[in-house]
């Protein structure tokens, strides 16, 4: 095994292990902070895959944005007196059966298929991604910017307290 392989296993175990804590731990705060480590692990996997821009975007958007939003969600949906932020689970056994079955099928497919062997050479990706955004994917890029604006206004509209209601 080379050094990169060890780094892959470290990030893979970090990602999957903390994802298991997200799903299985009872305390909402533990779930939220385990999700933080999952996002870090995924960013590490992106670096190993040569996606430098995407790793930075993952850290900025997920860790800086989505994680903070989720923590706000945790804080705002519990009374301050609820020191014990436990959550309930239902249908644990059927859920686990579905999850293990899904994983088994996907692992079998991943290891039985003959994947192409070609490797994209490593190198900086940011300028190429920027060119693709403003060339080939211009329509999708503009649509994404409109989507973000609509989501921003929509979220503010939904949580607004209506004066007449």
């Amino acid at each position: 095994m080379t050094a990169a392989d060890y780094v892959f296993w470290v990030f893979a175990i970090l990602t999957v292990g903390s994802a298991a804590v997200v799903v299985l731990a009872r305390s909402l705060i533990y779930n939220a902070f385990a999700l933080l480590f999952t996002f870090f692990g995924v960013a590490g996997l992106y670096v190993l895959l040569g996606a430098d821009f995407l790793a930075a975007a993952q850290l900025l958007v997920y860790v800086g944005g989505i994680m903070v939003l989720l923590l706000f969600g945790v804080m705002l949906t519990h009374r301050i007196t609820d020191l014990d932020l436990r959550t309930e689970t239902t249908q644990m056994v059927p859920g686990l059966i579905v999850g293990v079955g899904l994983f088994t099928i996907m692992a079998a497919v991943a290891f039985k298929t003959q994947w192409p062997e070609a490797l994209r050479p490593l190198g900086p990706t940011t300028s190429d991604i920027g060119r693709m955004f403003l060339g080939e994917y211009l329509l999708a890029f503009e649509a994404a910017s409109v989507l973000l604006l609509v989501a921003l206004i929509g979220a503010a509209m939904i949580v607004r307290r209506k004066k007449d209601a």
Partner: protein, 101 residues
């Protein structure tokens, strides 16, 4: 040697855990976290295929769009969860069983 199938394995584990969370959690914020796990697993797949299948950078561009949609989704979903909490005083999804607010 780490190949494509190892990344697919990590991504499959993340997706399965997300599905388990979706099926078993009652708290709406937990369900949102599970959705984030599923979106991240899809992103790992996209980036891994972009590295190993020599298809150019299209996979990474797709992954950026997935991140954008995830950010928009979590903002709107949290707004809905907060409104539901204000109306029903509960974050549990199976208590939100009325159609009329």
């Amino acid at each position: 040697m780490i190949g494509l199938e190892h990344y697919l394995l990590v991504s499959g584990a993340l997706l399965s855990l997300g599905v388990v969370g979706l099926l078993t959690r009652r708290n709406a914020v937990n369900v949102l976290m599970s959705i984030e796990l599923i979106l991240n697993s899809a992103n790992i797949n996209l980036v891994a295929f972009s590295r190993f299948a020599a298809g150019g950078l299209d996979g990474q561009v797709f992954a950026v769009f997935v991140i954008v949609v995830a950010a928009a989704e979590v903002a709107v979903a949290l707004a809905i969860v907060l409104t539901m909490y204000r109306l029903r005083r509960t974050p549990n999804l199976d208590d939100a069983d009325i159609l009329k607010g």
